[in-house]
Each structure stands twice: as structure tokens, then as C-alpha cells.
């Protein structure tokens, strides 16, 4: 029997395969070589690829990201690891003002990937739990992906590495060892910019990505027992995002819940919601609803964090309210 692969193994597989296929791919970051990475994504990579391609760096996010920009401009395909997504702010400028704008300004290509271990539910507190996509979402020139299953984690990483633009790769820590799947043997990619329907339904749509895809699927399972059919749209890519898929589903069900783990105000969901309202208003039977984490820093203590984040109960409550329209 073929062995199922965890989400984190899928990331490692994708990275290893790209490094084997293309000598211009290399990794850089803190503790990624000798230690194999804080989460062990690059475990064993140093032995296979050597110190030049698995570059242990000083603790300096701006230098890591700036180095990636420079190496990308000079023909390489760097994969920079932020130990936690939260730390990307120390190198924010390199991403939003440098990597994102080079091609538009003078035509240089910046094929780099920034791996961002993100998300809560792991009792990491305010600085080891954040979802950082909204900080980058409004920066033209960037791409952002957020896989929810091992298949997509691998396929999107490979697509990100092959892309000629800076791609922020949001990998959710909670999913690392909790989600497993049997993966195909072939060299596949998941194209950036396209989402998929995870589960079909006619009564209500959940538009989501990353960790909350799993909450939506659990809620859909529950509601099916009550005779309601929930369509779950997994966006997979946040920037650019699959407007067509999202709108088709909204038009079909007429009721939409936009769901993400990042905090509510100014989140990606606000844009999704605006796009749906602007383009599918005549098809809607209810206002587009949003469910996200509350607008506070990510709290540490279990009950606080539970209150902060979306969970299946909260998703069910939101969906029932929508279904009541």
C-alpha cells in the first residue's frame, strides 16, 4: 500500500525534487542546514545538497530576503525560509519595495520564494502564530499561495519555485503533521491563481483558504446530516485569486461565507467579499458574511486562543444564519 504523506513531508518532497531538477534552486535561512530547520522541512538537505545550496544564515531577515532578491536577479531561484511567518516583518521592505517592484521598474526578474510557516492553534502566542497575508495582499508584483492539503502544498511549492516572480508561500504550522494524503508519483504542479471546489453543494458557499478549509469541510459534513449542502471553495492562491471560481459558486448558491484564520478587519476576506458583492449582487439571497479571527493580537493561553480563532462551531453558526435567509 502507498504510504500517505503529511503536509510537511509534502513540502519537503516538493523542495527536494525542485532542488534535484534545477541547480539554480537553493535554500537560505536560519537553522535550515545543520539543524534541518525549526520544523525540519530541510532535514537531511545539507548532506544531499551541500553548504552552498543549503545556506545557514545569521539571524537577519532583511539580509536573508535581500540576498534572495540579489541571487534571483543573478539567475538563481532562492527559497528563503522565515523561521516563523511573524518574523517576515523584519525584512518587509525587501519584499514590498524591492522584490515586488523590480520587474515593473526596470525589467529584472525576481524568481524567489519566501516560505512562511504561519498560523495559530499551536499556542505560539502573539509572535509565533500570525497569518501575514493581508500585509502583502495589496502589493502589486507579489504572488501569495496558501495550501490546505499535502497535494497542493507540494504542487504549489513547485509552481512557486518555477515562477519568475516573488511568491510568498504560506505553510500552516497546525496542518504540518495533522493532514495526510497519498500523493501521485509524477512531477505535477498546482497552478498559481486557481482555486478548486473541495466539496460541491447548492445551498451555501464557503470561500476560504489554508487551515480554515478544514473547518469548512467539517461543517459541511455536519450540515449534510441536516440536509443542507455546502459548497467549499478552496482558493489555494490568494494573489492573484480565482475570481471566476468564487463568483460562479456565489451565483450558484446565492449565499456566501468568507472564512479565514487571519484577523477580520482589512483581511483578505474583505476584498473577497467586496468582489462577490460587486459582481454577483443580483444573485445573492443574503449579505456576504465574513468569519475570521477577532481583531486582537494572537493570545497565548488556550481558552483565549480558542476564543480568538474560528472553529467548526463558529463556522456552523455562521452557516446556519446564512441558511436561515
Amino acid at each position: 500500500m502507498v504510504k500517505p504523506v503529511t503536509y510537511i513531508e509534502a513540502i519537503s518532497q516538493g523542495l527536494r525534487e525542485e532542488m534535484r531538477n534545477d541547480e539554480s534552486v537553493f535554500c537560505l535561512g536560519e537553522d535550515i542546514g545543520v539543524y534541518g530547520g525549526a520544523f525540519k522541512v530541510t532535514k537531511g538537505f545539507l548532506d544531499e545538497f551541500g553548504r552552498d545550496r543549503i545556506l545557514d544564515t545569521p539571524l537577519a531577515e532583511s539580509a536573508i530576503l535581500g540576498t534572495a532578491v540579489g541571487a534571483a536577479l543573478n539567475g538563481m531561484r532562492p527559497v528563503a525560509e522565515m523561521q516563523f511567518a511573524d518574523f517576515v516583518t523584519s525584512g518587509f521592505n525587501q519584499i514590498v519595495n524591492n522584490a515586488a517592484k523590480v520587474h515593473y521598474r526596470w525589467g529584472g526578474k525576481v524568481p524567489m520564494v519566501v516560505r512562511l510557516p504561519c498560523g495559530g492553534g499551536v499556542h505560539g502566542g502573539p509572535y509565533h502564530s500570525q497569518n501575514v497575508e493581508a500585509w502583502f495582499f495589496r502589493v502589486p508584483g507579489l504572488k501569495i499561495v496558501a495550501p490546505s492539503f499535502p497535494y497542493d502544498a507540494k504542487g504549489l511549492l513547485k509552481a512557486a519555485i518555477r515562477d519568475n516572480n516573488p511568491v510568498l508561500y504560506m505553510e500552516h504550522k497546525y496542518l504540518y503533521r495533522r493532514i495526510k494524503e497519498v500523493l501521485p508519483d509524477d512531477d505535477y504542479i498546482v497552478p498559481i491563481g486557481r482555486g478548486i471546489i473541495r466539496r460541491e453543494g447548492n445551498d451555501v458557499t464557503v470561500v476560504t483558504y489554508g487551515s480554515t478549509v478544514h473547518l469548512a469541510l467539517e461543517a459541511a459534513e455536519e450540515l449534510e446530516k441536516e440536509g443542507f449542502y455546502v459548497e467549499v471553495v478552496d482558493m489555494l492562491s490568494i494573489l492573484p485569486f480565482d475570481k471566476e471560481l468564487m463568483l460562479d459558486s456565489a451565483k450558484k448558491t446565492g449565499k456566501v461565507l468568507v472564512l479565514h484564520e487571519d484577523t477580520l478587519t482589512g483581511g483578505v476576506g474583505a476584498e473577497f467579499s467586496a468582489v462577490i458583492t460587486e459582481n454577483a449582487f443580483e444573485y445573492l439571497d443574503a449579505p456576504v458574511r465574513r468569519l475570521a479571527s477577532i481583531d486582537t493580537p494572537v493570545p497565548y493561553s488556550p481558552k483565549l486562543e480558542e476564543f480568538f480563532m474560528p472553529n467548526t462551531e463558529k463556522v456552523l453558526k455562521s452557516l446556519r444564519e446564512l441558511l436561515a435567509y
Partner: protein
């Protein structure tokens, strides 16, 4: 192709220490250095004129008084090396082969400039010429240069990346991050600090509390060199040595070139915060006049040759201005193009 250096036997009597590398420069090369410094100076003077005529709609930042640094440093690179110039380094662009016509198109926001009108002034790069364009946030390009050098090394090439920072920009965190990391990784990075004594209006005494910025090299365990930024041969000497050291795998060098910014921060800045006597003092050290004087005294060039060179420079600039003014502006809808690479 490595640049051929020939010993022409020119005695640099006026120089206290004849340089190991600069003494090898041929008459043709010395001519090129002077020519490029003059192109730098006169282009910027012409650009200021266009600015005053309202033909340049954005900011203009010049490297007046600093031409020896831009030209002398960039001239020390080989073709395969990477140049990451800043806003006062017009001469570095020119040395690298960025054509004057394109540079003027850039300032005038034309569709056929290096950024197609999407960015202005010295914010330009050219992938073909291995010039990486700067961003306004000073310091940001230092780790970028480091990464470019590492990329070359990973492919087994002896790539060196040269970039710059000012006395103000050296206060930014990236200065530390890049130099520390470059030292740890023994990267082929050459950083030239263009210490022109003012960051916009902020004098050095408000910027750092030590004698030299080059002294910081001690903390990174890398060579820290101080050069006379108004002496092109001194600049070339130090940068050439740093480039060759980097190619030999010896790691980065920090070079501090002491100079003075002879214009305001940008064209709109009246520069009144600089005492006039200070400017007078530095005017006497003008890098172009000094180099001309040196060439005259060492009988490398005759007065006539120098005059001819000056006329050639002015003529080329007028041609470039004419070309740029006749070039089309981009259409509004072209703003949509090029956000993403294919």
C-alpha cells in the same frame, strides 16, 4: 573578459603613494576615466537645466563633487561583475555602458528609457549590463548585492558585486546585516561608503559618533579602507584591490571615500545649511580639476587634448538630450504592463 592593464610607466609624482593598480592604467584608460567623470558632471548640469525648465517633472539628485567615486569604483569591475549604484552614481552607470541617450530618456520619463517611464532619475537598472536598479530606501541594496555575488559563486564564477551607501544610509540596519553576513559567508561584496558629510541636511556629527565609518570593519573582521574620494586614482586603487581580493575568495571589503556633496540633497534644496567656507574648501579639491591637473603635470595629456575631450563630452550630451526630447512619452494605459514577469 578581464580588462587588460598595461604598465605605461607614468610616474605619479604628485601622489604620495603611487598605487599598485592605478600606476598600471594606460593613457587610454586614464582618458576614459576623465571622460566618464566629465560625462557624469556635465550630464547632471544639463539635467539640472532641464529641471529648471520644467522638463523634468520629478526629483533630481546629483553627485556633483563625487564623480571620482562613481567612476573610479565602477571602473575597477570586470564585465561579469554586478554593479548596484545609488542616486549619486551617474558615472558608474556611464562606465558600465548605460547609454547617455537612455539615461536622458529616463529623466524625461520617456517610453524608451530603461524603466519605460515607470520610475525616474537614477532609479534604473539594466539586466543586460548587470546593473541593478536602486530603491529609495537606502541600505536596501546592500544585501541584494551580497546575494548577487553569492549567486555567481554558487555557479563557480568569480563574480563580485559593488554597491554604495552614504554616511546617512550607513545608519540603516541593512548596513550591519549585509556586512555581517557577507563576512560570515566570505561573499564577494565591495561596499563603498560615499561619505559626503550630509544626509539631506543632517551633518555627520548628528549621524554617527565615531571618526570613520570604515572603522566599523573591525567589528566584522573585514578590511576597512579610507580613501580620498576626490582622487580618482586613490578610489580606483582601493576598489580594484577589493575586487581582486573578492575574486580570490578573500571576502568583502568596506571602503570609505571621504568627499563632499557640492549640491543640495536634490534640485529643490538650497543647500544653505552648509557653511560657504566649507564649500569653498572642497571646491579647491574638485575631483575633475584635480585629475586634469595631474594628467597635465605628468604630461599624459596636452591642454589641447583636454579641451577636445571637453567639447566631445558636451556634444554627446546635446545629442542625448535631443534624442530624449524627441522620444515618445508612454501612453497612460501602458501603466498596466510589466507588473509581473512571464
Amino acid at each position: 573578459m578581464p580588462r587588460t592593464v598595461k604598465n605605461t610607466g607614468i610616474k605619479q609624482k604628485k601622489r604620495s603613494e603611487p598605487g599598485e593598480y592605478s600606476s598600471l592604467l594606460s593613457k587610454k584608460e586614464l582618458n576614459k576615466l576623465l571622460y566618464n567623470m566629465k560625462l557624469h558632471r556635465e550630464s547632471e548640469e544639463r539635467i539640472l537645466k532641464l529641471y529648471r525648465q520644467g522638463k523634468i517633472v520629478g526629483g533630481v539628485y546629483t553627485g556633483s563633487g563625487m564623480e571620482a567615486i562613481a567612476v573610479g569604483s565602477a571602473y575597477a569591475l570586470e564585465d561579469e561583475d554586478i554593479l548596484v549604484p545609488l542616486h549619486r552614481d551617474m558615472g558608474a552607470h556611464i562606465v558600465r555602458g548605460n547609454p547617455l541617450k537612455r539615461i536622458f530618456c529616463q529623466y524625461l520619463g520617456r517610453a524608451n528609457g530603461p524603466t519605460k517611464g515607470r520610475d525616474g532619475n537614477m532609479h534604473m537598472g539594466d539586466p543586460e549590463l548587470n546593473i541593478y536598479g536602486m530603491v529609495s530606501h537606502l541600505g536596501t541594496m546592500m544585501p541584494v548585492a551580497l546575494g548577487a555575488a553569492l549567486a555567481g559563486r554558487m555557479r563557480g564564477e568569480k563574480t563580485v558585486a559593488l554597491t554604495y551607501i552614504g554616511d546617512g544610509g550607513a545608519s540603516i540596519g541593512d548596513f550591519h546585516e549585509a556586512l555581517n553576513m557577507a563576512s560570515v559567508l566570505k561573499a564577494g561584496l565591495v561596499l563603498v561608503v560615499e561619505n559626503n558629510q550630509y544626509a539631506y541636511s543632517t551633518p555627520n556629527s548628528y549621524q554617527y559618533n565615531s571618526k570613520n565609518i570604515a572603522d566599523r570593519a573591525i567589528g566584522y573582521n573585514i578590511p576597512g579602507v579610507i580613501v580620498d574620494g576626490n582622487d580618482i586614482l586613490d578610489v580606483y586603487e582601493a576598489v580594484r584591490k577589493a575586487v581582486l581580493d573578492a575574486k580570490a575568495g578573500k571576502g568583502p571589503t568596506l571602503i570609505e571615500a571621504k568627499t563632499m556633496r557640492m549640491h543640495g540633497h536634490s534640485a529643490h534644496d538650497d543647500h544653505k545649511y552648509v557653511p560657504p567656507e566649507k564649500l569653498e574648501e572642497w571646491r579647491a579639491k574638485d575631483p575633475i580639476l584635480r585629475f586634469e591637473d595631474h594628467l597635465r603635470k605628468s604630461k599624459v595629456f596636452t591642454e589641447k587634448e583636454l579641451e577636445k575631450l571637453h567639447d566631445k563630452v558636451l556634444m554627446e550630451i546635446e545629442e542625448a538630450v535631443e534624442f530624449a526630447e524627441k522620444s515618445p512619452l508612454p501612453e497612460g494605459h501602458e501603466a498596466l504592463e510589466g507588473v509581473y514577469a512571464d
